[in-house]
Symmetry: C2
Subunit: 578 residues, 2 copies
């Protein structure tokens, strides 16, 4: 086990300090890198070391509940001991006060690369605690967020129901008010929740479920649609030490990410599960969306981290594996396969996707830290793409890592197949690619006032202007400007087309939008890398820029062109023709 | 279990009879469909029924050898009882005398869709028997091919070695001549073979290994490179009933296709494994390539079959699963997700890829049946693409089938995840995508006399001429002509560029070449479908044609353009920059 598959010091140092100026927010480079070292040592020793085992020895359910890999409890215990559950919480709340950017780059990416199934428990716990911190009462925070920030209790998010996957308005879990106590408004919850990651496990003392449910109206009915959805704290163990009325009805057995238990939970099989309202009734969705936005960025980061590791694995393999000779050469010993142009192309493509995705995610993570409306608007625009682009293209990168390994990549003796399976979750959860695309195109672009897009265009123009001054890169600066001009023209066409037809190719539009963002950020990194002492690292960036502009952007232009020739083909296809 | 995931009667009937004119070769439509019914009944009852089980209960090795799922022995026994091992052998050789096209479409595709791991044993056995029939003596044929044609013995192909995956010139297995007996020239073989599918199992009475090895030269050395590679018959059980010196050194544990045992075999741990030469010394590679070409078409078919099943599974799911409402509609009950445009797009894209791949493979399977040089030349040109395009794009289709299932697609309760894993093998074995691309571009195009390309262009021009006469489709006819004009221009540029640099983007070129072929064959099918009584089926073809020309060909043009702007970026990237 080595650190080689975890984001390198050189990469993190460049992105955070040379590119994103994290030192201006208070943490200097040495401190950040020393946190990175500590985190990566733990990640290698306790998380990476059980990566394969956690794929084979899946969580299981018996009468006492769900049991997960014992190594996970140990790993997360050490994670807690180092205070890492609280890394991004203010010191006043028992945290370490790291910026979102720093904790994303140094912690989240490290542990997601080493073992996303184990890291998942921590990620959910942090998101849960942050929601309670943001919207709960101080008593709720003390009782339910603090033990999570300390890493003693873990948290879950209970949204989906069997009949309502992505369609939260259709949830049927009901909450009946039963007065107030020192924790807040108390309710009894009855309903079934599906796809609950960490829904039960034996690694933490207690589990804090955050549950979306509809409060019963005075006549006993539930509000239609998403109105009336509220957020409730439902602990597995109640404050008096008794078990709450929450039952594990089953476990899902997954393609990947197997170490994270994934449960069907029944709330209220008997007297109803006790829950406390967070904030006011009817505020559940907006509250949850704060968490969802953070979760979406985290998914982009996790996807990038998994593909980064696969890239490094395939790079190592390509350097070590000798096979064949260059075309046209007869005789002599076999060469390392990194000498074959097709293998090099697959490595460069991976690098351009993976490190491009990391840059995109960290750019967004920095926007979370920035104050002010501008950053918030830009972040809202970028979030669906930050979730989706890495999920889609880092999966392609994972596929290339298998291909470089040849037959060995198809065996379970090498990690690249598991990394590919693990990453396949990311285009699905927290809103599928198609759902993100509709969010981007409909809500963030077509129905918006256009300010966030104008902001984005200004930042892109700034990069293009700077690059245009460099003779070697001026043509790329122009290509970037042209590309975004084309995006705007396509958008204008979609506006003319009107809803809902304009959304027919939303997924392809989002893909093109994402390519435009990654192209921009590659060029932006290039500008910074010129100040870094000349090294393989800077040359790597220059190669990625050229690759992305020469071999990716032309494809992306074809996507935009397909979107602009709006086709109702799929929409109007008779069902009998499929 | 239903037939719904196996290639439909309507599809097979159209492709074989309305499109490819199989009745002109002797088998009428009713006979073919009745064979299809028989095969599909067996496939559903005995192959599909253990599809999931064969993924979970993998082959294992103990002192007595490798044990595979008992259901496989039963299934393959019934397959033998129906005479299906011999389906494509002449009646004089104990076969059924079906054409290659018919057996590919009706048998191979059916069983590969139902259970590729089980079908793999039959596919290898047939290929093995065909090689012996083609190049072996009549005694060798009687002893080793006949029991395989009867399905009592199974066969393997032993090519790769640990140090020489795709680079057969580097094999080190050696064969020392030890005289002649009634079976032929006898040798003792010593060496290690890797990745041997079906290398051991307990479902057949005997196993016939066809082994590539180098005969020792008089001075005891082996010839360098691929010269001196010969083909040997090495049975597990010798004619006198004793065990040959062939040992299973280990099993590979794979990502998918788990039911097919995959072995490391040691030949000659003791006195040397007894083997008989097939044909003459030094002829091993050309002999094997006859089988490899058949195997490559079969891989295309298997990839298409797996994706066909996933497409049908996702179509059924999309019709049954209710969730969400059309954009802009508030309230009312949830609709089936097939109503959502993005889901319909994913279905249409799958259909266009999967049925396009089937058409490409069957077109090639028909060329195998045709006599004369023209068919052979065209087949040689198409073979790498017939292997690769379905492997690559049907895997994309499998991915879309998972996406349509949402979270359920990520669980092992639905077959789409296994279909995806199983299909991931196809871009790797029998020559990776990159190796096929070099074969296509270097050997079949740049170093050829251009006759096969001219032939292909004539056939494409014929389709374009016929389509140009139909006002609704004339623009697609023009687009097809333009596209292939562009392929020729790119080729001319690569010729100028010279080897080996011209091969830098061989993989992308092959992808574009494949898209051009599939576009052509879609349009060609459309011309035929106009004679079929109007139905959903014909409308499906028309939608696929439009989709392929409107949403796929523009992307493919961007690939050609990238190839034409030849870039040495990956080739010249310093190793330290990765």
């Amino acid at each position: 086990m080595s650190r080689d598959g975890l984001p390198s010091r050189e990469l993190i140092s460049f992105l955070l300090f040379d590119w994103l100026g994290e030192d201006q927010r208070g943490t200097d480079r040495d401190t950040a890198l020393s946190i990175l070292d500590t985190a990566q040592k733990l990640a290698v020793d306790a998380f990476l070391s059980c990566y394969r085992k956690s794929d084979v020895e899946e969580p299981y359910l018996d009468e006492s509940g769900v049991h997960i890999l014992p190594e996970f409890a140990a790993a997360l215990g050490q994670f807690a001991k180092l205070g890492l559950f609280g890394a991004s919480f203010p010191e006043a709340e028992g945290g370490m006060g790291l910026s979102n950017l720093l904790s994303s780059a140094v912690l989240h990416m490290t542990f997601a690369a080493a073992n996303p199934a184990a890291a998942g428990y921590a990620m959910l716990t942090v998101a849960n605690a942050r929601l309670i911190s943001a919207f709960g009462s101080s008593e709720q925070k003390r009782r339910f967020a603090d033990p999570q920030i300390a890493g003693r209790w873990f948290g879950t998010m209970c949204l989906s129901e069997p009949q309502a996957g992505s369609s939260l308005g259709d949830i049927r879990t009901r909450a009946r008010a039963e007065g107030e106590d020192e924790i807040g408004q108390r309710y009894r919850l009855v309903g079934n929740k599906m796809w609950i990651s960490g829904g039960d496990q034996d690694a933490s003392e207690n589990i804090v479920h955050l549950v979306l449910a509809k409060a019963e109206q005075p006549d006993g009915t539930l509000a239609e649609g998403s109105l009336g959805i509220s957020l409730f704290i439902v602990p597995k163990i109640l404050p008096d030490g008794s078990r709450n009325d929450v039952t594990v009805a089953g476990l899902n057995h997954k393609l990947g990410a197997r170490g994270t238990s994934n449960c069907l939970l029944n709330f209220g099989e008997q007297e109803g599960a006790v829950g406390w309202l967070v904030g006011r009734e009817g505020q559940g969705l907006p509250q949850m969306f704060m968490m969802m936005n953070e979760a979406r960025i985290n998914i982009g980061i996790a996807a990038a981290a998994l593909a980064y590791r696969a890239y490094r694995e395939s790079l190592r393999y390509a350097r070590e594996r000798a096979q064949g000779r260059p075309v046209g050469v007869q005789g002599g010993p076999p060469v390392a396969i990194i000498e074959h142009p097709d293998v090099r192309r697959m490595l460069l493509q991976q690098k351009a996707y993976v490190e491009g995705a990391i840059a995109l995610c960290l750019y967004a993570a920095k926007l979370v830290d920035e104050e002010g409306e501008e950053a918030a608007e830009l972040l809202a625009l970028l979030t669906p793409v930050v979730k989706t682009w890495p999920s889609e293209f880092c999966l392609v990168a994972n596929d290339l890592a298998i291909q470089i390994h040849g037959g060995y990549g198809y065996t379970r003796d090498f990690p690249v197949e598991q990394l590919w399976r693990d990453n396949r979750l990311n285009p699905i959860h927290e809103g599928t690619t198609g759902i993100q695309a509709i969010d981007l195109l409909r809500r963030k672009l077509l129905l918006s006032d256009g300010r966030s897009m104008a902001l984005l265009r200004r930042r892109i123009a700034g990069t293009a202007r700077a690059a245009a001054a460099l003779p070697e890169w001026a043509s790329f600066a122009q290509a970037l400007t042209d590309y975004w001009g084309e995006v705007e023209r396509v958008l204008e066409g979609l506006r003319q087309c009107g809803l809902p037809e304009a959304l027919d190719d939303a997924t392809l539009f989002q893909r093109g939008f994402g390519h435009g963002l990654v192209a921009w950020l590659w060029l932006d990194q290039l500008l910074c890398s010129r100040d870094v002492p000349d090294s393989g690292f800077a040359s790597g960036i220059a190669h990625c820029v050229r690759f992305f502009f020469e071999a990716e952007l032309p494809q992306a232009r074809s996507w935009l062109s397909i979107v602009s020739h709006h086709s109702d083909l799929a929409r109007t296809m008779p069902e009998g023709a499929f």
